[in-house]
Amino acid sequence: MSHPANEVVLEILHETTYDYELAVSLAHHLAYLQPLSDAHQRLLAHELQVDPQPARCRDGRDVFDNSCCYLTLLKPHRRLSVIARSRVWVAPRFTGLEPEASPPWEAVRDRLRYVAGAPFDPAVEFVQPSPYLPRWDDLGDYAAPSFPPGRSLAAGAIDLMQRIHGDFRYEARSTEVDTPVAEAFAQRRGVCQDLAHVMAGALRLLGLPARYVSGYLRTRSAAGAELVGADASHAWVQVYAPGTPGVPADGWLDLDPTNDIIPGVDHVRIAIGRDYGDVAPLRGVIRGGGQHRLTVGVTTRLAEI
């Protein structure tokens, strides 16, 4: 778990194609394809290419301050192609991380419990169950061994990440995007999205805030290792560990259970939400279309400078 200190510039090509059996007469899509910008990641260039040309294409910001784009297609079409090209500068987000110096997990949990008139911490939104992560007590039982009384929060969360990585088999296409977390949990296998859901759901049942991160992963890490999940868009988790040395002031610590790593400069964040449903890369409602075939391709690599 070492982090190359060097910042990098990554280039991402994200292609999504729908082929429809019948003509689609009217379509509304919502795209979360534009990487975010903050102190540790900066979007240098971004281009969204949609074919056929949408009647309307409008940028927006959601309640979590993610960038999104509304696309409306009014002409009949049998194929939709959405290509996102991004160029992103990435710097390590966690330097000098000391997980064991994180506060005890119960302290964070208790601080978020409602007391009349007490101050409001927005992180509390990410303790609540959400559409893809309904409350499911088995997840809490699963998480419990990582959080004995008094355990420091970040250390417990990293332990949970390692256990999920060990217990679950990553299997491309083993689940659908709407596979309930319970099913992935029971089968002990899934794609990165499922592993992220399992981990976020488990943390929430203990009363700890956890967010879902949609992003990209370099196909070959800076350290030279093959990473899993780079051929499509990737997903991981953030746990709320305020006051942990090495975690930025916002308190959110990224953890990638699919690869058992703390994301450094190989991960690019696109959008952050409660679960997959908040930040799905491309969701849409179409009229017509019949059956469809979906092709997604993602390439993330070091920019040639």
């Binding site: 509304h28 919502l30 409001f120 179409i286």
Partner: protein, 894 residues
């Protein structure tokens, strides 16, 4: 009044197993034994329950005393019990006749149940109403202020006045609308409050409905029914009228909507979940009363952030929605993706301020019972006021202090789910504190209220029952609120049972008495402007157009099948008369129509080989029920289809017509009973078919004479004509192919199927030539059932369709119509051009010197050709006006 006395007293207290334990007093003696109190025999309410009828000393409360005095004089020889029972039956019959229903969902699936209204109203005295009004308008203002804060600065969260979990975990909190100001500025235009009176006589708020409150339609209908039973009392008690409240709701929407419509009269619609929703009837009723177009999500589209209704004439803008679809189901793109009820993009239109909604998306978050406990402090913060009308004491278990305070005293309380998709309300508290402790946020504890009891007439006597009153606050144009002076009172049929219509409760009209003048307003006051008049011609949504088209088709198809079934049964019964070809023709038609199940696996031999077996198969088809109905497209199938299609047309058809369409299936299947060996007896079948034929004739009569000749009617008639052409061409073709027209019996049956017997016999007097048949059944355009007659009317009606005379896909409405009609479906052929230009394409003259063999073959080809044209024309109408090809919306994720 003496005459009321003797028969009013029921023989004794009615036995009430549930109620006896809680009514230790049993029947109360007539307190004063005075004459003139028709309620004198009624039992006392259970201990510690407020009696709406009587004061503590047993005397009637003033409103009820007046009501009793105003009961109408009885005709000689009648007693009051009989009179009240007569009126109760009148109400009941009226409900059945109007088809007022309530769809109920149980373990066995959905069932439609007649709406239940009590004969007696619930009375609210002026001083009580004043308190209720002050308390609830204050609460309405507070709720609006809370939503404005939640979707805006969130001060209530920041200051710890509202627990974040109640917002962030509630599925009705619409994240995509954070920071969005609704068009018109207000989130709430209508709120329903459920209130009840406690043991001390004070009123309590029990629950509030903020997103899509139901009941306004039932309130109207209840008023209509009950008012008519007690006209004197209604007038003399000065019961407040309710019509202006409905006008106010329209005004509240129309104000901001008019701005969106550029100052023109706006188009408002009622968004429904469809005919299978719980309160479909009342939604259709309300839409008709308010003059709103009734639409389902699939009827609407969002383009350029604006909302459009797909009508048979193209896209029409919609500026406001009174919605009866829950928040999270309204837009599958940004809210619940599994919703098939919503409109993709509606959130965008709402965000852009291009649609007024009653109520705004995201209002449901206030429906959590847990909110009630936090309102007093919030009222102090936002309004600097104390709440005037208390809510039931409520503890949200997610607040550790509240849970600790209440967890050892659960016995006299009830637990409710904090969130709608959480666990069900446990009806009576046998609560397990440990279960709550697992996920305390999801639970809310509420004190139980012993509801006040109000009198009901229950057939043999009066009974007191616990009542819950739903009242409605409606926004006015000045930013304030007014209560609709009335409401819907619901009572449990049993003591202690929960007051829920889903659980078999019943409803009361609610009379708010006033000491001042009664507002005489009716919903259609003053003069309408030309624009308003135009506006009231509601556009025809494509869905409604399609349903009307199919109403015409199914009605005609059923008529044809009844005729065919009748003819076939008679022929089989009359053993000697049947010639081979005729039997063959009828059985071919029967098989095509799905009257009998022939073919794979069933193997019914033709009627010529085994007439009894064939007859049994036919009877089995007629008596099909349940799942069998879907297997063969015979009469029961068509009657079911008529029932379904007309259900969706509740707001378009006259009550008599609608009610007939709804009942025909049941009447037909009942009239086939009793059955032997599962089959109806022949003696029942023919009369049943005859009765059905009469009903169908009445239905077509209603369609022909009593409907406005608008576009909807035209589509219905086109459906009927096309179906007629399909059926008649098929009949002739099959008869000719079998040679069945060669016998007298064959000619008779053919004429029967064309309903042309009398004219033929009068015109040709004994001749049965094929040429004569060709003249009357094919060429004569004055015969409404000849091909030429049907074609003539088809051409007339088709030419009146918007854009039908022109080129498909580019007519009516230019670009928008073009966009919705799909890419060139139907090619560049106009609809009329799909038919022969005149007549059937030939004249009698063309048949000179043609022998019978050639004539039969020629007519057969003509029939086949017209049959194909009719089918393809029906399909083209579908593509052009209903866009059947698109199907439902699909959600996809990548």
């Amino acid at each position: 009044m003496d005459r009321h006395q003797s028969n009013l007293v029921p023989p004794g207290p009615l036995s009430d197993p549930e109620g006896s334990a809680s009514s230790p007093q049993g029947a109360a003696p007539d307190p004063e034994g005075r004459a003139g109190n028709p309620f004198s025999g009624i039992s006392a309410p259970p201990l510690a329950v407020w009696d709406e009828l009587r004061a503590a000393d047993g005397s009637l409360r003033p409103a009820w005393a007046r009501f009793a005095e105003l009961l109408p004089p009885l005709p000689p020889g009648h007693d009051l019990a009989a009179e009240l029972e007569r009126r109760r039956r009148q109400v009941e019959e009226r409900i059945l006749r109007d088809g007022v229903t309530h769809n109920v969902f149980g373990p066995e699936g959905a069932a439609t149940r007649p709406w239940s209204v009590e004969l007696l109203p619930f009375l609210i005295a002026p001083e009580d109403w004043a308190r209720i009004e002050a308390g609830l308008t204050q609460r309405a203002s507070l709720l609006q202020a809370i939503l404005a804060d939640l979707y805006g600065p969130r001060r209530l969260l920041a200051e710890g006045l509202l627990p974040p979990a109640l917002v962030f975990r509630h599925p009705g909190y619409a994240r995509p609308l954070h920071g969005v100001q609704p068009a018109g500025g207000r989130h709430l235009l209508i709120i329903a409050f459920d209130i009840a009176r406690g043991p001390e006589g004070g009123w309590w708020l029990v629950a509030q409905r903020t997103q899509a409150p139901s009941g306004l339609g039932y309130v109207l209908h209840n008023r209509l029914l009950v008012m008519g039973q007690f006209p004197e009392a209604f007038r003399e008690l000065r019961v407040q009228h309710i019509a202006s409240s409905y006008r106010r709701l329209l005004d509240a929407m129309e104000g901001p909507a008019r701005e969106l419509a550029g100052g023109q009269p706006p188009r408002l619609a009622l968004l429904t979940a469809g005919p299978y929703g719980e309160t479909w009837y009342e939604q259709a009723y309300l839409a008709r009363y308010l003059g709103l177009t009734l639409v389902e999500g699939g009827d609407l589209q969002v383009r350029d952030d604006r909302l459009w209704l797909k009508t048979v004439e193209g896209l029409e803008p919609v500026h406001g929605l009174l919605r009866r679809v829950d928040d999270d189901w309204c837009d599958p793109l940004e809210l619940r993706p599994d919703s098939a009820l919503g409109v993709p993009g509606l959130v965008q239109a709402f965000r852009a301020g291009q649609v007024v909604m009653a109520n705004a998306l995201g209002s449901a978050v206030l429906e959590s019972p847990a909110i009630l406990g936090f309102l007093p402090a919030i009222a102090r913060r936002l309004l600097d006021q104390e709440l005037l009308l208390p809510a039931l004491p409520t503890w949200w278990c997610g607040e550790p202090a509240a849970w600790a305070a209440v967890k050892d005293q659960l016995d006299d309380k009830r637990a409710r789910g904090t969130f709608p998709q959480g666990e069900r309300t446990s009806p009576l508290l046998a609560m397990d504190a440990a279960r709550i402790a697992v996920d305390p946020d999801a639970w809310t504890i509420q004190s139980r209220l012993r509801l006040s009891h109000t009198p009901l007439w229950e057939g043999r006597g009066f009974r007191l029952r616990p009542a819950l009153v739903r009242v409605y606050a409606i926004a006015d144009g000045q930013g304030g609120w007014q209560l609709l002076p009335g409401g819907m009172t619901r009572v449990a049929r049993r003591e202690e049972a929960s007051v829920s219509l889903q659980r078999g409760g019943t409803s009361l009209d609610t009379w708010v008495l006033t000491e001042g003048p009664v507002d005489p307003f009716s919903l259609l006051p003053g003069k309408l402007s030309v624009d308003e008049v135009r506006q009231r011609r509601r556009p025809l949504s494509s869905r409604t157009g399609e349903n009307l088209f199919w109403l015409g088709r199914y009605t005609e198809r059923t008529e044809q099948q009844v005729r065919l079934a009748r003819a076939t049964l008679l022929l089989i019964a009359d053993d000697g008369a049947a010639s081979g070809p005729l039997l063959e023709a009828l059985s071919t038609l029967g098989a095509r129509a799905g009257l009998v199940r022939v073919g794979v696996g069933v193997g019914v031999p033709g009627p010529g080989i085994a007439p009894r077996d064939y007859e049994r198969a036919l009877l089995r088809g007629l008596a099909a029920s349940g799942a069998e109905v879907g297997l063969i497209p015979g009469i029961p199938f068509n009657l079911q289809a008529l029932e379904r299609v007309s259900m969706a047309l509740r707001d378009r058809l006259s009550t008599e017509h609608w009610s007939l369409m709804q009942r025909m299936r049941v009447i037909f299947s009942r009239s086939l009973m009793p059955a032997e060996e599962g089959l109806p007896v022949m003696a029942k079948v023919l009369p049943a078919l005859d009765r059905l034929a009469v009903q169908l004739a009445a239905a077509t009569g209603a369609q022909s004479d009593r409907m406005t000749r608008d576009l909807g009617w035209r589509l219905l008639i086109l459906g009927r004509l096309l179906e007629r052409l399909v059926g008649l061409t098929q009949s002739l073709e099959v008869f000719l192919a079998a040679g069945a027209q060669a016998s007298t019996a064959g000619v008779s049956h053919l004429l029967e199927l064309f309903d042309s017997t009398i004219t033929f016999r009068a015109r040709y007097q004994g001749h049965e030539d094929l040429l004569a048949l060709a003249d009357l059944l094919v060429l004569d355009d004055t015969n409404p059932r000849a091909f030429a007659g049907v074609l003539r009317r088809l051409r007339t009606e088709l030419s009146k369709l918007p854009g039908a005379g022109g080129v498909t896909g580019s007519a009516a409405g230019g670009a928008t119509a073009n966009a919705i009609s799909g890419a060139g479906e139907g090619g560049a052929v106009s609809l009329v051009a799909r038919l022969p230009a005149a007549g059937v394409g030939i004249t009698l003259e063309d048949l000179r010197d043609v022998d019978d063999v050639a004539l039969a073959s020629f007519l057969g080809d003509l029939a086949r050709d017209l049959n194909q044209r009719a089918l393809s024309l029906a399909e083209a109408i579908g593509h052009r006006y209903f866009a059947l090809a698109d199907g439902p919306d699909q959600v996809q994720h990548a």
